[in-house]
Amino acid sequence: MKIHLPSTVIRRFAVVIAGSLLLGAALAGCSSGSAPGSAGTDVDAALKAGGTITYWSWTPQAKAQVAAFEKKYPKVTVKLVNAGTGNDEYTKLQNAVKAGSGGPDVAQVEYFAIPQFALAKSLLDLKPYGFDSLESDFTASTWSHVAMDGAIYGLPQDSGPMALFYNKKVFDQYGLDVPATWDAYIADAKKLHAADPTKYIAADTGDAGFTTSMIWQAGGTPFTTTGSKVSVNLQDAGSKKWADTWSQLVENKLLSTTPGWSDEWYKGLGNGSIATLITGAWMPGVLESSVKDASGDWRVAPMPTYDGTAATAENGGGGQVVLKQSKNPALAAGFLRWLNADKDSVKLFLASGGFPSTTADIDSDAFKAQTPAYFGGQKINEVLSAAAGDVVKGWTYLPYQVYGNSIYGDTVGQSYSSSSDLNPGLRSWQKQLVSYGNDQGFSVSG
C-alpha cells in the first residue's frame, strides 16, 4: 500500500530536491538558459511584433490582468498557468531550471525566494531592457528585493509593510490598550489570557517568514551574502532582541497553537479567540473576503516597537521575474513591465485587495482617504502607508532561503512546541543552515 507521509514531510522532501537541483545549476555556472543578447532588447518593438509567452502565477488577479493586457496588445498571447502556491511553484521552477526547459517566461516569486533563483543565474537581468528607469516607481524596500549585485531580476508587485491588526471588540471587552511597545504587547497578552483562557493575543506555532520579519524589525541582519560567501548569525543583536522578547510569550504559553491559515485559524480570527495579527499590509483583503463574520471588529495600528520609535519590516509580498530560458525575453520583459508598472494593471491588482509596491499608489491621497466599513471606517491605509516608509533598511535573505524555511520547523519549531526559550532553536537553525550552505558549494560562516 501507499505510505501516507504528512504533507509537510512531502513538501520538505520536494524542497530538498529543489535545493539539490539548485546546487547543480549554481555550480555548473548555468549551462541551461540562453543568453538574451541576439534577440534584441527593444521591449516596445517586441510588444508590437507579438508572440506567445507563458506566465506562472497564483495571484487571483492574474486572470483579469492577462485579459486586459491581451486587449491592449492583441498580437500577444499570454498563457496563464497556476503551477502551485509558493513552495510548490518554486519546486517546479527549480526543476524546469535544472531540466533547461519547461519553465514559464514570466513567473511570480516571493521576495524571500528571489535571491535563490537570481544567484543560481536562472533569471534574466532586466537592466539591458531599460528597467533601471523604473526604480523611482517603487518603494525602496521592495526595489531592494529585486535589484542585487548590480542587476535587476524582476519587478515588485505587492508589498507587506507590517502593522498590528487587532480585534477592537476583544480589546474593549477586556480593557486592553493598543500596545505601542512589545513590553505593552506582552502585558496585554498576559491580561487577556488570564481573563479568558480560551483567548490568546496571537496565534504563532513557529513560522519562518514571521521570524525573519520580526528579526528584521529588531534591526538584525542574520543573513549576508557577498558573491559565494554567506554569513549566518542568528544570535546577532537584533535576532537576540527578538528572541528574548518573543520567548516570554512562548514560555508562558500565551500564544494560540492553532496553525496559521488552517480552517481553525480563520475561525479564531472571526470569533475573537485570536486577538491580534502582526503581519503585512496585504492582510485587510484576506480579512474582508474570508473572515466576513468579524466585519467591524478589526482595526489597524502601527507595529509595536522595542523603544517607541517607529520601525517595521516587510512580511510576504513578491514580484515577477523573467526566466533566462525564455525564448522571447524582450516580449516577456514587456509583459512584466506592463504587469507591475502600468497604471491600469496595478489598478486591477489593487481592486482585489493587494497592497501596492508603487510609490504613486501608496502615497496617493485617494488611497489614504479610503474608509473601509470592515475596519469600522478607519483610514487604515494611512497607517499602512506610513509603515511602508518605516521599514528598517539593510535586510537580505539567504541565497537558499526556500530550503532554509523548510527546516525551520525542525529547529526553531522545536522550541515552540516545547514552550521553551527560542535562542537554542535559532542556534540549531543556524548550525543546519551553515552546513547545508557549505554542502551546496557556498562558503558559509556562522
Partner: protein
Amino acid sequence: MSAISSRSDGLRATRSPRNPRKSLALTLFMVIFLIYSLVPLFWLVVNATKSQRSLFTSFGLWFGSDFSLFSNIHDTLTYDNGIFLRWFANTLLYVVVGAGGATLLATLAGYGLAKFRFRGRGAVFAVVLGAIAVPGTALAVPTFLMFSQLGLTNTPLAIIIPSLASPFGLYLIWAYAEDAVPGELLEAARMDGAGELRTFFTISIRLLAPGIVTVALFTVVATWNNYFLPLIMLSDPSLYPLTVGLNQWNAQATGVSAQPIYNLVITGSLLTIIPIVVGFLILQRYWQSGLSAGSVKQ
C-alpha cells in the same frame, strides 16, 4: 507488504472456525480500531455538508446549522471552469492505463517466471525482490531527471510509464501462479496441441483471476492515491490528478492573496474517495480469496 501479511494474519485469527471463543480484549481493540478508521470519514461526510462560513463557526464533529452538501458539490464541479472534472478524468486515465497496464505486465511476467524454466530466472527473482524493497518515493527524483532528459515531463506519459512497473504485483502473481496453475494442467494442454498463448488466455488466466484482481486492486489504489510523482512531474494544472489538484486548492488558503475554499477541498475529497471505496467493496471478495490462496494445501 507488511499490511498484507498482518491483515491476512488478522483474517485467519478471527475467522478460524476452530476457535470461536470471544476475546474481550480483541473485541475492544477492534472497536477502537473501527472508531479510529471511521472518525475521519465521519468528519469528512459531516463537514462536506457545511458552507465555508459554517465550517468556520460550527463544531467539527457534528452538522452545522445549514445543509450545503448539494451547493458544495455544485460549486466543486463548476469552480474554475470545472477543473475538478478535468482532474477526475485525468485520474481515471492514469488509473485505467497505468494500473491496468501494470496489472497486465505483472500477470504476464509473474506467470512466465512461475511456469517456465529458463536461464537467469534466479537473477530476475533477485532483481524483483530487490525492487520491492525500494520505495517509489526514493525513485521519484531519478525518474524525474531521466524523464526531463527525454522531454517527457509535464505530459501524461510521465505519470503513466512509472506506474506501469509493479514489482510487488509481479511477485504476487508469481507466488499465486505457482499454486493456482498446476503444471500437469499445462502439460495436458500442450499434449492437446494448444499453443502457450492460447493456454494462457483460455486456461491460466481464469485460474489466476483472484490473483489478478488483487494486483489490480493494489495498483488501482496506488495510482489513484499517487501524489508525489505527479507533484514533481507536472506543472500544468490541466494535467493534474485529483490528489495534486486538491492540494492546490488547499494551498490557496495561504498567504498574501489567500482565497480559502475549504468547503470545496472537503467536498472534493469526499467525491474523490467515493469511486475507490465502491471499487474496493465490489472487488474485496476476490481480494480475500486471493490472500488465502496457498494457505491450505490442496
